[in-house]
Amino acid sequence: MKSDSSKNGRKILICEGTGCLSSKSDLIKDRFEEELKKADVEDVEVTFTGCHGFCAQGPIVSVLPEDTLYVKVNVEDVPTIVESHIVKNQPVEKLFYEDPTTHNKIERYHDILFYKKQQRLILSRCGQINPERIQEYIDTGGYIGLAKALKLSQEEVINLIKQSGLRGRGGAGFPTGLKWEFCYKAQGEEKYVVCNADEGDPGAFMDRSILEADPHSVLEGMAIGAYAIGSSKGFIYVRAEYPLAVKRFRKAIETARSKGYLGNNILGSSFSFDIQVKEGAGAFVCGEETALIASIEGKRGMPVSKPPFPAEHGLWGYPTNINNVKTWAFASWILRNGYEEFRKIGTESSPGTAIFSLTGKIKNSGLIEVPMGTKLREIIYELGGGVLEDKEFKAVQTGGPSGGCLPKELLDLPVDFESFKEADSIMGSGGMVVVDEDTCIVDLAKYFLQFTQSESCGKCVPCRVGTKELLDICTKITEGKATLEDLDMLEELAHTVVDGSLCNLGKTAPNPVISTLRYFKDEFLAHIEEKRCPAKVCKELISYQVVEDACIGCQRCKRECPVDAITGEKKGPHFIDASICIRCGLCYENCPTDAIIKVDKFGEVA
């Protein structure tokens, strides 16, 4: 273990993904440089990386070659790390990750269950390389795929992708090779490739992380695809909410141009290709292909009916191939490693890996890549470390506003396109939000409807009016004002919206309702028949009370209450006036002795 400290040779990697940056990881990097200078240590490289995917533990610092991972690092921790680890070769144990189950401190990155259980193909560089240095991408096998592709014919490249069985990672899972072939065969003077990085699903950040941590892999994939279909111009459409991703991708385009991976006669071939960044402006529907095309053209992002498909009639009427960020990154992986390698991973019908952003009430929030076919239970309990505060698992919501809620009975479901579909959910782009006993399922369904209703572009009636009606019924239920007829109407209307809507936003908008009605009908009924919210979330159905014996009279609740509903003398028991209380829950959250409880408002009635 001990080595000569004067010849250090270490590399300190500081995560500068959006998550860690928000905890000021850039200052940590500056401090490292300062401290190393002070300690007069040479030969240590300090650099930054993109997202490691372990955002809940940020800011993250890793030290190579030991593979040490420090979590939740503060600027003030830097002198200790330098003095102890870098100078004296004694890693700082208090900053190691603590396993939430065994409570063991774990030093090495790859010994942490969260990483050990993953199989990282397209996330392999995330957190390992500096995303703004193209050389680090090249040194880790970057642009080999493009070089290989350029030695093949267009048909051969398309066949490789077809043989790999790669399916689009944007959500629908359409075979990528087939999509490329349609566009290749379509007639047009001009052809376009587009990277859909309009990652609008709330609760998902896979695409953001990849663009921030490994932008060249996406760029390379787009160049390969462009070569295969015969396109010379590409666009990447990125959400406006992702400024860092935009910055890193722009930088990647610049450096790729200067190294000859973009521009005229790429790598000495006759193939020329360039990419332009288009920033979205805040419209979820623009994730839909035809709406995205309209938006790139500078118009209102309204979908049009398909066919004709973009492969024949896309941007400005020319054949256009649109793929998701992850799909493009997989294309470069497959070209580099061969389709056989890809097929070895995952299942027969869904080969390769799946990428999820694991969030919500889960211990290890973060970004994961696992082989298709992995069971939900392994993801949630092994990688995710289980439910926060060891509460009871209620459901996992997948596929965002277009997806559904899977209950605990389905924890052994393997993740792949077909299994999810059968269970009334979808793989979607990869959002996976865990909810526990404290989450109200009706409220969650209402939440998604609020989202889709406000994001409906308004073009077709079933979506525009239908989502509003669905939302109104759900709101009635959460207020305890609904009847059983309303519930029947909810179900019937949900299917009408699915059948009648023009684009996939509307067609999938009722999914959260349909799946929750399938698995959690009891909770809907409790709201309607007993006027009771089992999770005690719905404001109209609960009230707050003070448990007199537990109240120490600290007056904290009284101070927090925004409407002065709480009375009581110092050191004496306090009372909440239910007629004034707006049930904001601030007293409940702030009580130091948990003396405030939530009760069913109509408890006696039931």
Binding site: S22, C55, A281, C457
Partner: protein
């Protein structure tokens, strides 16, 4: 799509001075005076002025040779664009799923009561505007908000209060 359409344009009094005109021309020229780059032009204009005043949209329409209707049609479709002058600091509270299940509603309520402002509005002193966004992509830090470009994660009502006070105090010093 949401807030923009509900807001009426009340800032018709914005006068384009020579310096602003030069910058607008720069934005329009660098977008090749091409109407397919309209969204980019509007974004850069908003970066410059913090919102899109009526007079500026009228100017852009003459430069791109498109009608004002067309520009408003596009601009009101996207929730990013604002037509009313916002406050000095823009608070964006994340209402994404992960934030929702971790109680972003409570944080939003707390901001609303603390600052006496509703989503889509600006405080009386012009210091803060409050906006809702769906997912900032920092779900692991839920609940999250962004003030200007700074991300604040793992919010609690106490933490929120400290952050808002910090901004208010900075203002007093100025």
């Amino acid at each position: 799509m949401s807030s923009a359409t509900q807001q009426k344009n009340v800032n018709s009094d914005f006068k384009i001075d020579e310096k602003t005109k030069q910058k607008l021309d720069q934005i329009i020229t660098s977008a090749n005076k091409d109407k397919s780059n309209l969204i980019q032009i509007l974004q850069e204009t908003q970066d410059l002025l913090n919102y899109l005043p009526e007079s500026v949209l009228a100017y852009i329409s003459t430069q791109l040779d498109v009608t004002e209707h067309w520009i408003y049609g596009v601009a009101t479709f996207y929730s990013q664009f604002k037509f009313i002058k916002p406050g000095k600091h823009i608070i964006k509270i994340c209402m994404g799923t992960a934030c929702h299940v971790r109680g972003s509603n409570k944080i939003k309520d707390k901001i609303e009561t603390e600052l006496n402002v509703k989503v889509g509005e600006t405080t009386e002193d012009g210091l803060f505007s409050l906006e809702e966004v769906f997912c900032l992509g920092c779900c692991a830090l839920a609940p999250v908000m962004v003030i200007d470009d700074e991300v604040f994660g793992s919010l609690t009502s106490a933490k929120l209060k400290r952050i808002l006070t910090k901004f208010q105090k900075e203002e007093e010093v100025l």
